[in-house]
Every structure is written in structure tokens, then in C-alpha cells.
């Protein structure tokens, strides 16, 4: 048989075969959703506890809304600076508010690389994993805040993979880091989290 005619024996009823659609891993989607929730709540808490993160968000205009998520169908994380100038995590509904800055990770696989810390945020930007809609300086400011939050939320061995430079004692003294970490965890996950989940459901 001529090896260059592989379709010669193909069945005539090709039209009956269903289109193959890519599968979405529910586990991966759920993992990213949880990570985005942790990041959102962590950002809100860090904006009150850590002076660096607070200053970053102070420089953004009041009412500023940012949306971080995975394209095309989520999951998402929405946060907004309220009238008092405080950052509030609004949940995972992308339509919760009109975003001034939308950072979309292009696909779930890229999001997994980022949130399993195989790639730092900076490297993900360099590898063109993000679509940025909005002001680039504001996106860079958000990235700085995200790096700082990762330092607080993650153990050092993992955070070193997530950020370009893990802050040493001269940048962030150990006692301060641990104290702020406890405060951020307490603020992020205990009193207010139930309110956010209730609102989004």
C-alpha cells in the first residue's frame, strides 16, 4: 500500500464524528480560584498592615478597580479601592465592578505555572503570559504589591521562586515579617471572609 495516502481507507461518514473539544480540568480551575481568593484577601489585608503595599494603593485613584484572572472563562479576582481609600476584595465575579485595570492570564496552563510558582510574576510577564488592559504603570504597581503579598503569604522556600528577589533583613526585618504575616493571615481569613463568600454566592 502506498504509505503516502493515509486517508485512503478513512470511513465515508466523517461528518458523524463529533468535534473534539479541549477539556477543562476542574481541579486546576478550582486550585486557581482558591489561589486568587487567597491573593485577593491577602492584598486587602496587606494594604492595611504593610506600609509598602499601602503606599502602592494610596497612589492609585479612589474607586480604582482591578481584575486579575484567567482567560477566557475565569476564574477571576476583583478588588476595588473604596471611598475611604482602602482596598476591598470584592470576590470572584468579574462583573462585580467595571475594571480600570484588567490583567488576564492567557490560559489555565499559564496560570498553573504562575500559581504553582514554577514561574515568577516577572518571568510570566516576560513570557507574555498576561494581557494587560489599562495603564501599564498601574499594572507594574500591582505587580510590586503582589510580590510583597507573596512574601508574606508563602514560606520563604516557595516565595523565593515567586518573586525576583526575596527581601533580606535590611529590606524587611525578620521579626516584622513574621508579625505582619500573622496579622495578614488573621485579617485575610477570619472575620471578613464569610461576608465575601456570602455576598458572592
Amino acid at each position: 500500500m502506498n504509505r503516502f495516502t493515509p486517508f485512503s481507507n478513512a470511513p465515508a461518514n466523517l461528518g458523524q464524528y463529533p468535534e473534539i473539544r479541549p477539556k477543562t480540568s476542574c481541579f486546576r480551575k478550582a486550585y486557581i480560584a482558591v489561589m486568587l481568593l487567597v491573593v485577593g484577601r491577602g492584598l486587602e489585608a496587606a494594604a492595611r498592615v504593610d506600609p509598602t503595599v499601602r503606599r502602592i494603593f494610596q497612589q492609585l485613584p479612589d474607586g480604582f478597580c482591578l481584575c486579575l484572572g484567567v482567560g477566557p472563562a475565569g476564574p477571576w479576582m476583583v478588588a476595588k479601592k473604596d471611598k475611604k481609600g482602602r482596598l476591598r476584595y470584592l470576590g470572584w465575579q468579574p462583573r462585580a465592578a467595571r475594571a480600570h485595570l484588567r490583567l488576564t492570564i492567557k490560559n489555565l496552563a499559564s496560570a498553573m505555572r504562575l500559581f504553582t510558582f514554577q514561574e515568577s510574576t516577572a518571568l510570566a510577564f516576560n513570557y507574555d503570559r498576561f494581557i494587560v488592559e489599562g495603564s501599564l504603570p498601574q499594572a507594574l504597581a500591582f505587580m510590586r504589591a503582589l510580590d510583597r503579598v507573596e512574601v508574606y503569604l508563602l514560606p520563604k522556600i516557595i516565595a523565593r521562586l515567586a518573586v525576583k528577589r526575596y527581601p533580606d533583613n535590611s529590606e524587611l526585618p525578620g521579626w516584622k515579617k513574621h508579625l505582619n504575616r500573622i496579622r495578614i493571615y488573621l485579617r485575610a481569613f477570619f472575620p471578613d471572609l464569610i461576608r465575601v463568600i456570602y455576598k458572592n454566592i
Partner: protein, 415 residues
């Protein structure tokens, strides 16, 4: 060679380089189905007679091309909109940009407006807003440094908001870039030096920053090699057309390299210093380049040490012990700045404090450095830099670059 896990590379402009390259433009424009180009340039280029040379080279084969010659140094979107009106009035069907970075970026902006049919450039701001093929664009660089003829970016000012707008799209790559030594022959020695150092900084940063890839490496290597072999020679022999052409090619190679691997802290600090202090871009790059290499040395030592080969040649590279190559590469760039300073009678600045305007006034004062360091946080070029650069780090680097002293390595935070 480092093969990254992921990279993308696109460089699709046609390059024409060499003697009588200008004469080929009409035929190549005809191939692009265009026959009535608008020439965009600035008063300096017009007064130097370069536009006349271009028109003369094309005479006989192309009907008379209208010229807009009032592009200012810091072009803004009002200028772009105005030139778009001129283009439409004259029923042009292509653009020829003759000039440096400002003219080229303005021409890219005009091409967006006239091709996509908008009233103003503001409608197309951001990354990915330009999604269609634009009209034919021909670029004739008159400085050997900007590399803008190979980049997918246009930077145009918004004077009302006092900020630079970035337009990023693969459709901004020109159809044709023409490198002809006649266009850079009249360039004064100190501008030749500054623009070539700009090209060197493009190539070096493309070589060591996070987005480096095998294709950009190949281009960056050749660019550094050409600059090191020809720059001082051109300063001493400004009429040597072959050496001038080599520098123009180096600039184009470096442009293609950094357009695909991006630049780091040298450009990060340079962009902001330029914006705050109104300093020529090439001068900033020359002063900051050794500091960018020094600052990233602990992360990219091996990669920076490989720069010694194009910078010094194979004999010196082979004769230098491996652990000394990176330091030697940095020392050679400092020495190049010193040689250019001497060859131009002191008009090429070695440090930030030496950058002066035409009246001899210092442009970068020491008290401006904290502001520059703070604003540098908002510049996109800090992302591809291998080492984190926060405001404190930037201030430390700027202080050394201002005084002209080598970095105090103990102050570099390594995490």
C-alpha cells in the same frame, strides 16, 4: 547558549543596506503598490540637506513627494493628527520617514491614523489596539542608534496628561528600512558617539536580560562586534562611508534584538532621567550602561562574561581567565566611554553629572536623583531586568552613575 523555556521572535521588515540604497526606494515602493509617499522629517534633517538627497535619489522614478519637515524633538499626538491631515490632503499612499527616533515614531503614529481611518491617534492607544495591516511605511534612519526602524513600538507624548503613550503592535513594523551611509555622514562626532552607545546598550541589554533568546543573541552579538570595531574609527574618520554603514547596520541589528528580548534597568533609569531632566537619550545610555552590567553581575555573571568576545575580540577573550571576563567587559565599556570623551574633546559625557546643555548648564542635578529613582518604578523596562530594582536600589545606582564611581558591590541587595 541558553535556550529559554519559551520565547517569541518577529522581525519582518525588509532591510536595504549599502551604496545607492536610496535609489532602490521607488522600485520597492511600486512593489508595495504605492507611488505617492509623504516624506516626514524634522528641521535639522531638512537643513542638513538630507531630504534633498533622498528626493534626488528618487527623482525620475517617482512623482514629486510632498514633505512635512516640522516634527519637533518630543513629538506629540497633535503633531501626528496634523500630519495625518497633510497626508490626506495630498492623497498620499505611503510614508517615508527620514530622521531619528522622534521622526520615526511620529511616522508610525501617522500611519496608524491614516490607515485605520480615525480622527485622532488617541483612539488607538495601548497594546494590541492596532490589528490591521497599515499603509506602506519606509524608514530612513539618519542616526545610527535608535533602532526604531526594527521595533514594534511607537512612543508619542500626550501633552495634556504629561505622559508618554505607548503604541505596541506587530503592524507598526515598517515594510522597508533603508540604510545608506549618506544619511549619517553629516552627524557630528558627539552625536555619533551617543547614538552608537545607545545601540550598544540595546545590544548588551538584549544579551543579558530575562527575555534573551537565541535569535536576539545572534543579532546582539553582531551589533556589539560592529560597534566596537567601528565606533572610534568613525569618530576619527568621519568621512569613511563603509564604517558609517557598519554603525548603521549595528544599530539596526541591535534594534531587532531588543525589539524581541526587551531592555532592562539601563533603559529603565535612562527613560526616566530623560523625561525628568530632558537629557539626550544616548548620553544617559552611555553613562548608565556599565552600571547596568555591574548591578546584574551576580545573577548573570556567566552571560555578561561572554560579552567580552564581541567587545574585545577572540585574542583578548582567550587570554583572559574565565572568572575575570565579566569584570573586563565592564571595564572595556568604561574605557570606551573614556576614549569617546577624549576623541570628542570632552563633548561625550562619561557620567550623569557631565551631561550639559548647549550653554554648558548641568542637566542632571544630584537633588533630582530621588525623584528619578521613585518614578523609575513605573517604567516597563524594569520587568525584564534580571535583578529586582526598587527605588532604594535605583537611587544607589544613580548616585554612583552621577559621580562616575564604580558601584559599591556590598550595597547591591541579592536577596
Amino acid at each position: 547558549m541558553i535556550l529559554p523555556e519559551f520565547y517569541d521572535f518577529c522581525s519582518r521588515a525588509k532591510i536595504i543596506s549599502g551604496e545607492n540604497a536610496l535609489e532602490k526606494i521607488p522600485g520597492l515602493l511600486a512593489g508595495l503598490h504605492a507611488g505617492r509617499p509623504l516624506i516626514i522629517t524634522d528641521p535639522g534633517v531638512q537643513n542638513a540637506g538630507l531630504v534633498d538627497a533622498v528626493k534626488q535619489a528618487m527623482a525620475g522614478e517617482l512623482e514629486s513627494a510632498p514633505v512635512y519637515s516640522d516634527v519637533p524633538v518630543d513629538s506629540d499626538y497633535h503633531v501626528v493628527d496634523k500630519i495625518a491631515g497633510v497626508y490626506r490632503e495630498n492623497q498620499c499612499d505611503a510614508i517615508i520617514a527620514v530622521g531619528g527616533g522622534s521622526v520615526i515614531d511620529t511616522a508610525k503614529g501617522v500611519n496608524i491614523v491614516v490607515s485605520l481611518g480615525g480622527k485622532t491617534l488617541l483612539d488607538f492607544q495601548g497594546a494590541g489596539a492596532v490589528r490591521k495591516k497599515l499603509n506602506p511605511l519606509v524608514i530612513l534612519p539618519t542616526t545610527a542608534g535608535t533602532g526604531s526602524e526594527m521595533t514594534l513600538v511607537a512612543v508619542i507624548a500626550d501633552p495634556e496628561r504629561r505622559e508618554k503613550m505607548f503604541f505596541v503592535s506587530y503592524f507598526l513594523l515598517p515594510d522597508l528600512a533603508v540604510l545608506d551611509a549618506r544619511l549619517t555622514r553629516t552627524l557630528p562626532d558627539f552625536i555619533t558617539a551617543a547614538t552608537a552607545m545607545d545601540a550598544l546598550s540595546h545590544a548588551c541589554e538584549a544579551w543579558y536580560c530575562l527575555e534573551k533568546n537565541p535569535l536576539s543573541d545572534a543579532l546582539a552579538f553582531q551589533a556589539i562586534d560592529l560597534i566596537c570595531q567601528n565606533l572610534l574609527y568613525v569618530i576619527q574618520n568621519p568621512e569613511d562611508m563603509q564604517a558609517r554603514l557598519a554603525l548603521a547596520n549595528a544599530s539596526t541589528l541591535a534594534g531587532a534584538a531588543f525589539s524581541n528580548s526587551m531592555v532592562g534597568m539601563v533603559h529603565n533609569l535612562g527613560h526616566v532621567t530623560g523625561a525628568v531632566c530632558h537629557v539626550p537619550h544616548g548620553n544617559c545610555m552611555a553613562a548608565l550602561l556599565p552600571y547596568g552590567l555591574e548591578y546584574n553581575l551576580h545573577r548573570r555573571g556567566e552571560i555578561i562574561s561572554q560579552l567580552l568576545l564581541p567587545l574585545a575580540g577572540p585574542e583578548t577573550y582567550a587570554a583572559t581567565p574565565r572568572h575575570q571576563r565579566a569584570e573586563k567587559a565592564i571595564a572595556l565599556i568604561r574605557q570606551l566611554n573614556q576614549d569617546l570623551h577624549d576623541a570628542t574633546g570632552g563633548r561625550h559625557p562619561r557620567f550623569l553629572s557631565e551631561i550639559r546643555d548647549r550653554d554648558g548648564r548641568r542637566l542632571v542635578e544630584k537633588n533630582m536623583l530621588p525623584e528619578i529613582a521613585e518614578k523609575a518604578l513605573s517604567d516597563g523596562a524594569r520587568v525584564p531586568n534580571p535583578e529586582e530594582l526598587l527605588a532604594d536600589d535605583a537611587h544607589m545606582v544613580l548616585e554612583h552613575a552621577w559621580e562616575g564611581t564604580p558601584l559599591d558591590r556590598t550595597k547591591i541587595k541579592t536577596g
